[in-house]
Structure formats: structure tokens, C-alpha cells
């Protein structure tokens, strides 16, 4: 049946649905629902990691398999370096650009390698803003407490304190580079309130905060003439044979050639895992979000923290096809928009918590009450026209102009027709273990941004990611540059890779899968 015919049921049932007050779940029902349907609680999707620093810890199969994967670099590989640098930064998003700029400013000889173009990242898509405690009634301590609450109390206190305290000076640094944050009439920074925050703390550049920051950082990386290797993916780290990181092997994706980099320090800023589509989920992430740092750090013996928890946003697009996985604002539900299944029924109180709403949508679809699109996808309706019916014509135009435009580009009028949604994989809550300087337990190996773990606990608060990138990108960049001044280049070996291979053999792991993934395999085999 075509989409229009299915939409009619939503129109026909609207009045009847409005008459029903859908209750929130009792604590017991809620726990049962989440346990059965929330992706983080689906035992069959998880398995213990067989060996390595997190041996026995459970994570999603997709991540476990990648971690146990085979290095593409053979034991007899020629390690004659093509580059010799103080600081190798891998990743061209927010954390990578911040790290490179700060290391360069300290006088280090930097190489920035990124597997796509400079700036192609999740950072550039960040719309919500950047949390910095600048309001007169706000404080870094309040920011700390809000984040801790959002992270289910599981955040690393030391990392978190550093982030909230350095937030304001990061804001200052970005202003000095020319980032145009929204202002109040008196010239002070305008702040918005974000979900889970007790104070208005989101600095914004309209709906383009990440784009504006990345435009500026990219321009500055080019102005500073930081040497770049675009379309250069990291595929292995190098060590001195005693656990200290001494460089990396990159692959130039334009000609497939391997490039050996001798580096006194290495900073991995390669982002998250959305493109692994764990548990079959669509994602809001960029093309290169394949968790490369997790794999490489793990092979060097570095533990991962909270690698079993991921953020699924309840409302990712399902139809039209162009918006699959893209975020649809939560505001529609806040203003009374219903979630409706294929039978025309509501099935959850739309204002329940994110984990409950995501779980209930998944339940409807798995039990056959989802709506199927021509492209074979399944979702539930978000009844957007209800807002204009309930609050008067023009409500959507006035409160959700960006969403109206988002769909108008594809000839979908959300004022007239409901839209299809399904939870989308949004963020990797955990990651590589780091200290307050961004350094991992492997000396001279640093990790910054989404690839690192511990800061956000089991659930990241809106607006904290952009700040994380800038704070820990800076710390890693400065520390690495400072460290490099007194270091001589260590020997380049693949000893840790050999050990890892031996360990895999001992545990009879031979999936044959080569990792890191670098890019998802979307090309159809024809």
C-alpha cells in the first residue's frame, strides 16, 4: 500500500486519539519494556570480547568482532618512514582540528591525516549547540552536576571537572578565531536551555553551531599551513615493542598505498561508530564513523570503558528515503504530537523518557504494527498535523520552521501529513580510556573526542560533545607537543600486533575480518 493511503488512517483516527489520555508506564512496566526492547539491553546483540584488555567484557557483536579483527599490516611489513613528525593527529573533525591547531601553536611539527576531507565529520552536523556555563546564575559546578545526572552517575569525575572548568576559556578561544556565537542585545553570549540541563547553557550559531565552528577551524588549519594528508586513513599503530606508541601506518585511499609515519606522539580523533549500524540501526552519523580508534588502541593493549552503551535517538527519519536516520526534532512530541502505529493507535505516552519511547517504537515494529515504506523500511507515524489542529494553524510554521523546510525539500508537507520515524544510532557513550590530558595507558598515544570514553557516563547530555572535542582536543594537542620536545623518536615495530595475533590464535579467533573498517561497504556487488 502506498504511503498516502497509510497516512489517511492517521487523519481518520486523530479525533478519537485526542480523546484518550495515554498513561505513562509504571516503574515495573517501564523496566520490563526497556529490558525487552531497548537496544542496550538486548542480550542477544551482545557477547563477551574473547581476548585483549577487555577480555570477558560484553559489547555489541559488531564492535566485539571488529576489536578481535585482523590487522591489514603483515608482520614483515617494511617500516621505513615516509614522514617523521612530533605529533601525528588522525581525524579531521572538531577534536582533530583542535588538537592540530594547539600542537602547532606549541611549535610542534604536526601531520594531520584524515580519511575523508578536512572537516568531514559528525562535528559539522552538530545543530543543538555547545554547553558552556557562562550565564550569571550558572557555574561549572552546576554543569558538572547536570552532566553527572544525565550520565546516570557513571561519568569519570576528573575528566568531567576538567571539561566544565575549561569550557569558558574554550568559548573565548573560539571567539578569538572568529566564531560567531549568537548574542544577547547587551553583547553577552546568548544561551539556550538543553534537555537534561538545569540552566540555559547552550551556546549556538543559529541551527548551525557545528558547521560554523568547523568552517572556522578548517580555515585556520589551512592558514597555519598544518601539513595535511586527506583521504589518508590510519590502519595500524606502531610501538617500540615495550608498549609505547611511536607512530602509525596510514593508507592513502586514493592509490591504496601504505604510508609509514614515525611520530613521537599520536593523537587519535577518529570519532564514533554509527556506520557500524550496530543491531541493524540506521544512524545520524557521517560516512567515516567506523570506530577505527577503538580497534587500534585495543590492539596496543589499551582498555576501553563503557563500551556497552550507545545513544539511540527515538526519532530518526524513515521516509522519505533521503531522511533515513536523520534526526527529527523532539520538540514535536513535547508540543503534543502523537506517535501512531499502523493500526492508527497510540502506544506510548510520547513524553516518557527517551529509552522508553525508543523501546516502545521498536516493540510496535517488531510485533507487526509498524508501517512499511516502498523501500522496505519500517517505522511509526509522528502525527505532526495534530499540532496545527490542537494549537491553531501556523503552529508548525512558527515553532518548527527548520523541520518544515527539512521535509519540504522532498515534497512532504508536515503541516498536512504525518511523518515516519524509527530510533537512530546517534552516539558512542564510551570509548578508549584516557586521563585528564587525553593520554591513554599506552605512553604517547592520545585519544580525543567521541573515540574516547568515560566523560559522558552511560548517556551523553545534549551540547556536551562539541565542548568535549574542543577541551580534550586542546589538552591532547598541547600535551603531545610539549612531550615531543623532550623525546627522541622511538623505534618502529609491529611487536604489539604480533602479540595480538598470537593472542587471537590462542583464543581460536579467526573471523578473517580485517579491521579497522575505515569505510562502510555500501557499494552493491553487481
Amino acid at each position: 500500500m502506498d504511503i498516502t493511503a497509510q497516512q489517511n488512517l492517521v487523519h481518520q483516527t486523530r479525533d478519537a486519539r485526542r480523546a484518550i489520555d495515554f498513561p505513562k508506564l509504571s516503574p515495573a512496566e517501564r523496566d520490563a519494556l526497556i529490558k525487552k526492547y531497548h537496544p542496550d539491553h538486548r542480550g542477544h546483540a551482545y557477547r563477551p570480547i574473547k581476548f585483549g584488555p577487555n577480555a570477558g567484557d560484553s559489547t555489541v557483536t559488531e564492535v566485539a568482532t571488529l576489536l578481535e579483527g585482523e590487522s591489514p599490516i603483515s608482520a614483515d611489513f617494511n617500516l621505513t618512514p615516509e614522514y617523521s613528525v612530533d605529533v601525528l593527529v588522525v581525524g579531521g573533525g572538531g577534536a582533530g582540528c583542535a588538537a592540530a591547531l594547539h600542537a602547532h601553536a606549541e611549535g610542534a611539527n604536526v601531520l594531520l591525516a584524515t580519511k575523508l576531507r578536512l572537516g568531514d565529520s559528525n562535528s559539522v552536523m552538530a545543530q543543538g549547540g555547545m554547553q558552556i556555563a557562562v550565564g550569571p546564575d550558572d557555574s561549572p559546578v552546576q554543569h558538572f552536576l547536570d552532566t553527572l545526572k544525565g550520565g546516570h552517575m557513571k561519568n569519570d569525575h576528573d575528566l568531567l571537572k576538567v571539561m566544565v572548568e575549561e569550557g569558558p576559556s574554550i568559548g573565548q578561544w573560539l571567539l578569538e578565531l572568529g566564531v560567531l556565537f549568537d548574542r544577547q542585545a547587551d553583547g553577552n553570549l546568548h544561551v539556550k536551555k538543553g534537555g537534561g540541563s538545569s540552566k540555559a547553557r547552550l551556546l549556538t550559531c543559529s541551527d548551525y553551531t557545528g558547521l560554523e565552528i568547523m568552517r572556522v577551524l578548517k580555515d585556520e588549519v589551512l592558514n597555519q599551513k598544518v601539513p595535511l594528508l586527506e583521504f589518508g586513513a590510519v590502519v595500524e599503530l606502531l610501538s617500540d615493542g615495550k608498549g609505547t606508541c611511536t607512530g602509525a601506518v596510514l593508507q592513502d585511499l586514493d592509490n591504496k598505498r601504505y604510508v609509514v609515519v614515525a611520530a613521537k606522539t599520536v593523537i587519535l580523533a577518529t570519532g564514533g561508530i554509527g556506520r557500524l549500524h550496530i543491531q541493524g540501526f540506521p544512524t545520524s552519523n557521517h560516512y567515516g564513523a567506523t570506530g577505527d580508534a577503538l580497534v587500534l588502541a585495543y590492539r596496543m593493549g589499551v582498555p576501553l570503558v563503557q563500551i556497552d552503551t550507545f545513544q539511540y535517538h527515538p526519532s530518526g527519519g524513515v521516509y522519505p528515503e533521503q531522511l533515513v536516520g536523520a534526526l527529527v526534532t523532539e520538540g514535536i512530541r513535547s508540543e503534543g504530537g502523537h506517535l501512531v502505529n499502523a493500526k492508527g493507535d497510540r502506544f506510548v505516552n510520547e513524553l516518557d523518557t527517551r529509552d522508553v519511547v525508543s523501546s516502545s517504537i521498536i516493540k510496535e515494529c517488531e510485533e507487526g504494527r509498524g508501517v512499511r515504506t516502498a523501500a522496505g523500511r519500517v517505522g511509526v507515524w509522528l502525527d505532526t498535523p495534530l499540532l496545527d489542529v490542537a494549537h491553531g494553524p501556523g503552529t508548525l510554521d512558527k515553532h518548527f520552521p527548520a523541520m518544515v523546510r527539512q521535509y519540504e525539500r522532498y515534497q512532504v508537507d508536515i503541516r498536512k501529513d504525518p511523518v515516519l520515524i524509527y530510533p537512530t544510532l546517534h552516539y558512542q557513550n564510551g570509548g578508549v580510556k584516557i586521563d585528564v590530558k587525553g593520554e591513554t595507558p599506552a605512553p604517547n598515544l592520545f585519544v580525543a573526542g567521541e573515540a574516547s570514553g568515560g566523560l559522558h557516563g552511560r548517556n551523553r547530555l545534549m551540547g556536551n560533545s562539541l565542548l568535549d572535542l574542543m577541551v580534550f582536543g586542546k589538552r591532547a594537542g598541547q600535551t603531545a607537543a610539549e612531550r615531543a620536545k623532550t623525546l627522541s623518536q622511538g623505534t618502529l615495530t609491529l611487536d604489539h600486533v604480533a602479540e595480538f595475533r598470537a593472542e587471537a590464535k590462542r583464543h581460536h579467533v579467526s573471523s578473517g575480518l580485517s579491521s579497522p573498517m575505515v569505510l562502510p561497504a555500501y557499494t552493491r556487488q553487481v
Binding site: 500500500m1 575523508l116 568531514d120 559539522v124 552536523m125 557562562v134 550569571p136 557555574s139 559546578v141 558538572f144 552536576l145 547536570d146 553527572l148 552517575m153 569525575h157 572548568e165 569558558p168 573565548q172 571567539l175 578569538e176 578565531l177 572568529g178 566564531v179 560567531l180 548574542r183 553577552n188 553570549l189 548551525y208 557545528g210 568552517r215 572556522v216 580555515d219 589551512l222 583521504f231 549500524h277 540506521p282 544512524t283 557521517h286 560516512y287 528515503e321 533521503q322 536516520g325 536523520a326 499502523a342 521498536i362 515494529c365 517488531e366 510485533e367 507487526g368 509498524g370 508501517v371 516502498a374 523501500a375 522496505g376 519500517v378 569505510l519 562502510p520 555500501y522 557499494t523 552493491r524
Partner: protein, 239 residues
């Protein structure tokens, strides 16, 4: 409407060809059958093409997938982002290759007169011949030509407002008969606006000083010595 139970949904960037109607599109001059309704990007993958240059955020923000396209029987070649546009039968399209526009190198904080310095850094900027091709080429619907003139006349504030939507796809540059790269001129003007012509927020400076002066130390000491249980109680009481 489906009433059959489904397994956990498996996501793929390849559209299912079974249910979808197929259309014919021309990619780089060669016809391919692809499922109706997919994005130009997904049509590339469906056609069996490896995409390296041309894919980035896949969400309409990074400008990597700048694309020229033409619809059936229409002579007009238009621009779009391949991640954010659906195929239709008879459409022809090609990714825009990387264009070697010149970016000026500058140290913004050291510039004395950024509005005048524009003419040193981008001497081609005032040579705009008003053809308006840049504006027509912009997939973000920015009035690019107007923006270039605003920059030339020193209205950097207007430029920064107009180009906030700019994804730096660079499609305005190849069409310029005066060899201007308007997106690069706009980044310069916007950053200069921020560095030189925007008020410094007093509240931020105050907050930085307070932190440096240790004014939050007492609060930190109080919070950080709490037991996990007490800390949980404290956060639970936050409104």
C-alpha cells in the same frame, strides 16, 4: 500496512529492489537502473560505484557531495547535495570534481584593516561582473552575488548573516567568470567580523576570571567529597 511480525529491522544503505519501482538515471553519462526515491548518493552505491571523494557527513552539512544534475528534457543544469536529493526517472547527474580555487592565507588577529585587506588577499573580489551564476549555483539558496558585493563594500556583518548556511561545497567558484571563490571570501569576511567587529562578551571574561581566581573551589570541595549516594541525592534534587 503490514501485519506480519518482523525481525529486528536490518538497516542497509542499499534500498531493497524487491518492493521498489525502478527508474533509469544517467550517472556520469551512463544509464543505470536504480530504485525510485533513493538519494543520488544511494543510487551511486546501488549502481555498484565505490564512493570515496563525494561522501562526507551524508546529512547535508559538509558539502562533500556537491552534484550537477539535470531532469528529463530540461536543458537547465542545476546543483544539489547528492545526500539530500532524490532520483527521478530520466535524471542525469555527476559529482562536482574538486575545484582548485585559491584560498588566501592570513593571520586574522594581526590584520590592521580587514575591510581594506580584503583587496590584497582576494584582489579578484571587486571584479564581479554581476552575472549571478554563483547565486544560481548555490544549493543552499544563498544570494551569493549580493554577498560578494557586501564583502567588497565592507558590510561584513551582512556577509556573516547571509553565509551562515554555507556548507562550503564550493559550487559558486567554478561558474565565476571573474575567478572569485565567493565561499572563501565569505569565510574571510565572517571570521573578520567575529575577530574585529564584534563586541567581547563581558560575562564570559568575568566567568573565566572567577574560575582562575578559585572562586568555585569551595563548591568543588563540597561536591567532590560526597559519597556516591550523597552525590546521587544532590543530583536527584536538581530541577
Amino acid at each position: 500496512m503490514s501485519n506480519e511480525p518482523t525481525k529486528p529491522q536490518q538497516f542497509t544503505e542499499q534500498a531493497s529492489e524487491i518492493q521498489a519501482q525502478m527508474v533509469t538515471v544517467e550517472i556520469e553519462g551512463k544509464p543505470f537502473q536504480v530504485p525510485a526515491g533513493v538519494t543520488l548518493m544511494k543510487a551511486m552505491w546501488y549502481a555498484g560505484k565505490e564512493v570515496l571523494r563525494g561522501a562526507g557527513c551524508l546529512g547535508g552539512f559538509c558539502g562533500a557531495c556537491a552534484t550537477y544534475y539535470r531532469t528529463k528534457d530540461d536543458p537547465k543544469v542545476k546543483t544539489c547535495l547528492a545526500c539530500s536529493m532524490a532520483v527521478e526517472d530520466g535524471m542525469s547527474f555527476s559529482f562536482m570534481p574538486a575545484f582548485p580555487a585559491r584560498k588566501a592565507i592570513y593571520n586574522l588577529s594581526e590584520l590592521k584593516d580587514p575591510k581594506q585587506d580584503l583587496f590584497e588577499l582576494y584582489p579578484e573580489a571587486p571584479l564581479c561582473r554581476n552575472c549571478n551564476a554563483c547565486t544560481e549555483a548555490c544549493p543552499q539558496k544563498i544570494d551569493v552575488r549580493e554577498g560578494v558585493w557586501k564583502a567588497v563594500f565592507g558590510d561584513f556583518k551582512a556577509v556573516s548573516d547571509m553565509f551562515m548556511d554555507c556548507v562550503m561545497c564550493g559550487m559558486c567558484a567554478p561558474v565565476c567568470i571573474a575567478d572569485i571563490a565567493p565561499n572563501l571570501v565569505a569565510v574571510y569576511a565572517s571570521r573578520a567580523q567575529g575577530v574585529h567587529f564584534t563586541e567581547k562578551p563581558a560575562g564570559l571574561a568575568k566567568r573565566i576570571k572567577k574560575i582562575a581566581d578559585g572562586e568555585y573551589q569551595e563548591d568543588w570541595d563540597r561536591i567532590l567529597q560526597l559519597s556516591d549516594e550523597e552525590l546521587q541525592k544532590t543530583t536527584a534534587s536538581i530541577q
